[in-house]
């Protein structure tokens, strides 16, 4: 059902009685041209772009839980393209451009809000690192602004400029960055895909990828075997569990990352702010809650929940930049499973098994990648060629040494 001024008004007068389901609950077909494992943001976007850009309609997304139940529904919603490494910049910028047109494209308001992403720096060397990053962006035509302390103060006057352990020296601002409404992104892509004929099979778990003679033939699921010519594993934190069934071992570890929301308060934080002397990031949701997070809990985990030290550490970091929020209350905290790659950058590639593709390694940052990730995987699955903006995101880069290590922390995922 198309959303328009007309449909909104007429439904208001009809007591909202005629809205139709935004997606179907189809029975699995015996065979699809393409099967996407994982009904998160990336899986749904992949299906959407396969249908929209490449004309595939006999495709399905299988999701073991409800669609959007994974990290797409539990992240801190930060969207930006302020990357430093040449392998990443074109990809994330492509993504940001897609975000900028997403609502019109999907006819769904994902509430993308380009309020700016401000990375605070706290030393001269960190300023230079940020300048390096900003300049790398500018090389690709992506605007970045290096703000000094006073310019930062104008944007976020309530930060602790005077008594902080790590004083604020300035910040790198990407004004085009911001946040989007996480659930709506999953729902918008799902609605878009469904309306183009994609079967979204919720509560359907991939159990075993079937490979014959080096070629994928389909997937054993909790609702029976589904034949498919091509299969994409787009299961974020659970990638290795599925890949393992096809005999693949990957440079990925799964960790839990916690996220936090406070009680709703009147508007305080106008943009996304990150703390450079820690690993903290915060923004305020449309509803008024402060949404924030920091580092991973440092151990591998598939339980989407974290522990108290991680909670306290995060909140100490919050207080480190904004001590005045001491009386704002934590409302809820939860966890999501992160597919941490060995260099902190993602992988969108073929696997060495014909017809089997992977899309993983999103670490802290895959929400912002959602549209481009789907776009590029769709391109790869449809054409068997990497999309030009995703050529660096190869699986064999660890063998060749073409690693994309933004943080410089090396092959230890929990340090990225």
């Amino acid at each position: 059902m198309h959303y328009s001024v007309f449909s909104i008004i007429s439904q208001a007068f009809k007591g909202q009685k005629d809205w139709k389901p935004v997606w179907r609950y189809p029975e699995p077909k015996a065979e699809y041209d393409m099967l996407i494992i994982g009904g998160g943001g990336h899986g749904l976007a992949t299906a959407y772009y396969l249908a929209k850009n490449h004309g595939y309609t006999n495709i399905a997304v299988i999701e073991k839980n409800y669609l959007g139940s994974g990290s797409v529904g539990r992240n801190t919603t930060i969207v930006r393209s302020n990357y430093q490494e040449p392998g990443n910049i074109p990809f994330y910028e492509h993504s940001l451009k897609l975000w900028e047109g997403l609502e019109q494209d999907l006819n769904y308001n994902a509430m993308m809000s380009q309020r700016g992403v401000l990375n605070l720096y706290h030393s001269d060397s960190q300023r230079d690192d940020y300048a390096r990053r900003g300049n790398a962006m500018m090389m690709h035509g992506v605007r970045a602004d290096l703000l000094n302390r006073e310019q930062v103060r104008e944007v976020v006057p309530f930060l602790d400029f005077d008594n902080a352990r790590f004083p604020i020296h300035g910040g790198l601002m990407q004004w085009r960055g911001g946040t989007a409404r996480h659930d709506a992104v999953a729902w918008g892509f799902a609605r878009g895909a469904d309306s183009r004929g994609v079967d979204i099979l919720q509560n359907t778990e991939a159990k075993q990828i079937r490979v014959e003679n080096g070629r994928v033939t389909g997937v054993e699921t909790s609702r029976g075997f589904i034949k498919a010519k091509k299969v994409g594993i787009v299961a974020a934190g659970n990638t290795t569990r599925i890949a393992e069934t096809a005999g693949l071992r990957l440079p990925i570890e799964s960790y839990v990352l916690q996220a936090f929301v406070s009680e709703a308060i009147k508007p305080l934080i106008p943009c996304v702010v990150t703390f450079g002397a820690g690993h903290f990031y915060i923004s305020q949701s449309d509803k008024g809650g402060l949404v924030f997070g920091a580092s991973l809990d440092y151990y591998t985990s598939y339980a989407a929940r974290g522990n108290l030290p991680g909670v306290e550490d995060t909140i100490e970091e919050a207080m480190a930049i904004m001590p005045s929020i001491s009386r704002v209350k934590l409302l809820r905290h939860w966890g999501g499973i992160m597919d941490m790659s060995m260099d902190g950058s993602p992988i969108i590639d073929k696997t060495g098994i014909d017809g089997l593709y992977i899309n993983c390694g999103w670490c802290y940052g895959g929400f912002k990648a959602t549209p481009a990730s789907g776009y590029c995987l769709a391109h790869l699955m449809a054409t068997d060629e990497s999309h030009p903006v995703a050529t660096a995101l190869k699986l064999n880069r660890f063998e060749t040494g073409h690693v994309i290590d933004e943080a410089g922390t090396g092959a230890q995922p929990n340090l990225h």
Binding site: A12, P21, R132, A164, G288, V311, S326, V328, K329
Partner: protein, 987 residues
């Protein structure tokens, strides 16, 4: 009007302590023992808040932490706190509260127009709209939405109060001090086990404070007092009132918040406002009770509509009749007890409206009584002024009343059982979700387990308290539950009144109605989790404590599924919201992370040094001579003096590791790129360490102090990481090697004395028996010496500055004295102290790599240090550093950079482009890693990596800094700018 709703006697308030307080600027009176809610109700203040979306008038729904409506702003000025539940705020003299989310006033709130627009504002409205025209979202719609959002105003100034963290340990943690919790605590306590009994309220007793009950041959209250007294007599019991267990974490770790001083105006001196505990409990009993369910009917949100159990709390505990003419809407026998309590208090029960056709309990005499009836809607706006009811035969009528008491059964407070992924299980017998899979070590007692009768509750408590500690090897004696007065518990839930008129609220705070839930279902949001997110049911500050279950039931009904099929959404910590300040404790401001001070810190402070953070350390950045000397002038001066005379710098922060044992040489050969086993005693060698992935992780020098004793230094930032790495290599990779590590970073105060007069200065300090001549103590020599009449010291002839230089280490207790002595000894040579700026400039002049270059992204080859990688042996990282991409001739490599115009201020982070090349990632040649103004070259200079840089020495390229708006032509040169032959340091 004063306390017009207060009963003349009774209650647990202290009538001898009247308190005055303010709400929205008006002064009222209450008593010690009141909450803000009970005191407002005593003064017949019914309207206390506005709802989130529609700004509907709201009153007090509950008497506990589950309150969704009565949120206020508390305290003024810097102590301002938003979103405080009036039902939990204990009254104190002078309390000042204000309503929130309304303008201009609570009674006349313009935001209430939203209510008129409610036909548009259905669930999911946002997602369908605000898209036309596209540009309007950011500029118009979103700012509007944001302005309307949120409840209370955020505090903007620094909190004058402090917070603490603390740790506690016990055998058994009892969560909740109602009858079940008290019973569990008592059995466990008598066995000798260490017990912590925590309750979020200020008094022990739970529902026994609200319900008039008999236990054995005493009143419920007396029973509580007796148990409290006995518990108080055990040294092994710790009672923690005002303490909420907010989260259950792995392995028996519980998060708790103690509101130490929220019940007073300001905390007494030296006391925190709140304290966050991490409780380590071997076992826990959850005795958190149950939360009563509201009914869903038209205008059920009007002030005056209240939970029956809450009404009883106000009557019995606070001696307040919240409203005087009450209609009771019940689906359980509970409602009749409420009626009786109201009658006892002299209020009028206007009617009992029981939704059950076949209720078997009988109504109190003279009370109008309707079986099989329902309330269709409440009348009135800012307070209930009657209800319209539908009788069993379908006819309707209007009843006069000013309040409604709702009793629709109970939801066990199972929240904490879900914090580790457990899902509650629907139970048809109790009509409730009961705990499912429990966190290890936790058991559930009393109403929280769905055991609603007092006798069962007590039995549970005694039994589970005993079995928990028996598990741990204590011997608990069984205690039999005393008999209690009779009660009747029959109940058939009525999830909503389908025929009702007006808006029927399920989630009060978020204004989620039954039709919103139906709409979500209609649009395909059938999973409970989808419904929750689409409608925001249960996402407000109360996390749906009163609304979730009804919402699920309505979804189930709309989609033709049973409660069990629908299931619940997941409960997450915290159980109730926790102030961020408490979770940060004292880790605020400068206390956020420890500050490490160098041995010369106090002296440097006296010199007026400017300090900078390097990791946790505070180090001198430069020593301004006059007040306003700029960093650049100071640095220039410090470098010039050091290079022409002599300078001194505190280098104690470098990591120092003492390595002893026969296999240290072998070990060092494996962890360093170079060979160390051949290093003679009394010598120092520079070493480079890679990670196993082939990138450089650290550098430093290692000295061989004796045959089997070595001293390694690391970078300041790398000290901890290197230590862990070495321990890994030893304990995990090569346990067969015989080595002992000890960190000695803090044992030694170490100063670098550099410059042509370094030896002269040193000679004045070093005891005369040591030969300090260039021949006797050569470049890269080291040794143990004594200084200043026998103080043991270590001397290393190493140089980062490129000058004749020594590092001298003394036991830290002499660190302060030594810097003063060095300065004194150097006076005649014109010595200067130098800070990190000068240090950095001199190392850049010498082309040494440091922080900016050791960024974890560079290999030895990238840094021009490939010669340091021995080709004769393996070492950590060797193989991975030889992957094809890392040997690529196009990989940027380390060079020096000189601006064509010496005054051109180079900047770190600038990128390089060829002349005429357009900015693009393909044309990007590399970037500037470190820059300095070189007082020696009278020019800015830089170090960086450039594609094919070594082949291009002499070429001119552009250093482009878009974000700072500068661009300079620079010449690629050798990274060693100063004294390329290294003659000075050997002199």
């Amino acid at each position: 009007m004063k306390n017009s709703n207060r009963l003349a006697s009774g209650g647990l308030i202290d009538r001898a302590k009247p308190l005055s307080f303010q709400f929205d600027g008006k002064t009222y009176q209450g008593y010690a023992g009141d909450t803000l809610a009970s005191a407002l109700l005593a003064n017949n203040v019914q309207l206390v808040a506005r709802s989130f979306k529609y700004h509907r008038p709201r009153g007090v729904l509950t008497a506990g932490s589950e309150e969704p409506n009565a949120l206020v702003e508390l305290r003024t000025g810097a102590r301002h706190e938003p979103n405080v539940r009036a039902t939990m705020a204990e009254l104190y003299e002078g309390l000042n509260a204000r309503s929130q989310n309304r303008w201009p006033s609570l009674a006349f709130d313009l935001g209430a127009v939203n209510s008129l627009l409610s036909p548009f504002f259905a669930a999911g409205f946002y997602y369908k709209t605000f898209m036309w025209p596209a540009a309007f979202w950011e500029k118009v719609y979103e700012p509007l939405i944001r302005r309307a959002a949120g409840l209370g105003k955020p505090p903007l100034s620094d909190d004058p109060d402090s917070y603490e963290k603390a740790f506690a340990h016990c055998d058994l943690l009892v969560i909740g001090a109602g009858p079940a919790g008290l019973a569990a605590a008592l059995t466990a306590a008598r066995s000798g086990a260490r017990v912590i009994l925590a309750d979020e309220g200020p008094m022990l007793g739970g529902r026994l404070l609200s319900d008039r009950r008999i236990i054995g041959n005493q009143s419920g209250l007396d029973w509580v007092k007796a148990i409290e007294a006995e518990l108080g007599s055990f040294p092994n019991v710790r009672i923690m009132p005002r303490t909420t267990i907010f989260g259950v974490y792995d392995h028996g770790v519980y998060g708790a918040l103690e509101r130490v001083n929220d019940h007073v105006a300001t905390p007494p001196a030296h006391e925190p406002r709140q304290r966050a505990y991490r409780i380590y409990a071997k076992r826990a009993v959850l005795a958190a009770g149950a939360i009563e369910r509201p009914h869903v009917f038209g205008n059920n949100d009007r002030p005056g509509v209240m939970l029956g159990s809450a009404m009883r709390t106000y009557l019995n505990r606070y001696a307040v009749v919240p409203t005087k003419r009450v209609a009771i809407f019940t689906s359980s026998d509970e409602g009749y007890a409420t009626a009786q309590d109201l009658i006892n208090a002299g209020a009028s029960v206007q009617a009992i409206i029981d939704s059950r056709k076949d209720a078997t309990i009988s109504a109190p005499k003279d009370v109008p009584y309707f079986k099989g009836a329902k309330i269709l809607r409440a009348l009135g706006n800012r307070q209930v002024q009657g209800v319209e009811i539908e009788l069993a035969d379908g006819s309707t009528r209007i009843l006069d009343c000013d309040g409604v008491a709702m009793s629709n059964g109970w939801n066990p407070a199972v929240h904490l059982t879900c914090h580790q992924g457990g899902r509650p299980v629907w139970d048809d017998k109790t009509n409730a979700f009961l705990p499912g899979k429990l966190p290890a070590g936790l058991s559930v007692a009393g109403a929280a387990q769905g055991h609603f009768s007092l006798k069962d509750t007590l039995t549970d408590g005694f039994r589970l308290g005993a079995s928990a500690v028996d598990d741990l090897g204590f011997k608990a004696h069984a205690i039999a539950a005393p008999d209690t007065d009779p009660e009747s518990l029959a109940h058939i839930p009525l999830w909503r009144v389908k025929t009702s008129k007006g808006k029927c609220f399920v989630d009060f705070q978020h204004d989620v109605t039954d039709t919103d839930i139906e709409l979500a279902n209609r649009e395909g949001f059938r999973s409970v989790e989808h419904m929750k997110r689409y409608t925001t049911l249960g996402m407000a500050t109360d996390q749906g404590k009163t609304s979730n279950i009804s919402g699920l039931a309505i979804l189930g009904e709309a989609s033709g599924r049973s409660m069990a099929e629908v299931g619940t959404t997941i409960f997450r910590p915290p159980y109730t919201p926790v102030a961020l300040g408490a979770l940060a404790g004292h880790h605020v401001h400068k206390g956020f992370r420890p500050t490490r001070l160098t041995p010369s810190h106090q002296w440097a402070e006296e010199q007026g040094a400017v300090f900078m953070e390097t990791g946790l350390w505070l180090r001198a950045q430069y020593f301004p001579k006059k007040k306003n000397e700029s960093w650049l002038d100071a640095m220039n001066r410090e470098v010039e003096i050091t290079r022409s005379k002599v300078g001194v710098c505190d280098v104690s922060t470098l990591g120092k590791i003492d390595l002893q044992g026969k296999d240290v040489g072998t070990f060092l050969d494996r962890v360093y790129t170079g060979t160390f086993s051949t290093l003679p005693v009394g010598k120092v060698r520079y070493g480079l360490m890679m990670r196993e992935d082939g990138f450089v992780q650290d550098d430093g020098t290692t000295a061989r102090l004796s045959e089997n004793r070595w001293l390694m230094t690391t970078t300041t930032a790398g000290a901890g990481k290197v230590m862990a790495h070495l321990e890994f290599c030893h304990q995990v990779l090569w346990p067969e090697l015989d080595i002992a590590f000890t960190s000695v970073t803090e044992q030694w105060a170490q100063y670098s004395i550099a410059g042509p007069h370094a030896r002269d200065v040193l000679k004045k300090l070093v005891d005369p028996q040591h030969d300090m001549s260039n021949e006797a103590f050569t470049y890269m020599a080291c040794g143990a010496i004594t200084i200043c009449n026998g103080i043991p010291a270590r001397l290393f002839r190493i140089s980062f500055s490129g000058e004749l230089a020594y590092e001298i280490g003394v036991p830290n207790r002499y660190g302060d004295a030594l810097i003063r002595a060095i300065m004194k000894a150097g006076e005649e040579f014109g010595i200067t102290p130098y800070g990190l700026e000068a240090l950095s400039t001199m190392r850049i002049e010498k082309g040494h790599v440091a922080g900016g270059e050791l960024n974890g992204q560079t290999t030895p080859r990238d840094l021009g240090l490939i010669k340091m990688v021995s080709q004769k042996k393996d070492c950590i990282g060797k193989h991975m550093s030889e992957r094809p991409a890392m040997l690529d001739a196009d990989r940027p490599i380390f060079v020096g950079l000189k601006p064509k115009n010496p005054q051109a201020k180079l900047t770190g982070g600038a990128h390089f482009l060829d002349k005429g090349a357009k900015p693009s990632l393909d044309n990007d040649l590399g970037h500037m890693m470190s820059v300095a103004y070189s007082p020696m070259l009278k020019s800015w200079i830089g170090l960086g990596i450039v594609k094919r840089g070594r082949e291009r020495i002499g070429d001119t390229i552009r250093a482009v800094d878009f974000v700072r708006g500068t661009e300079f032509e620079v010449e690629i040169c050798d990274p060693v700018f100063f004294d390329p032959q290294g003659e000075r340091l050997r002199g």
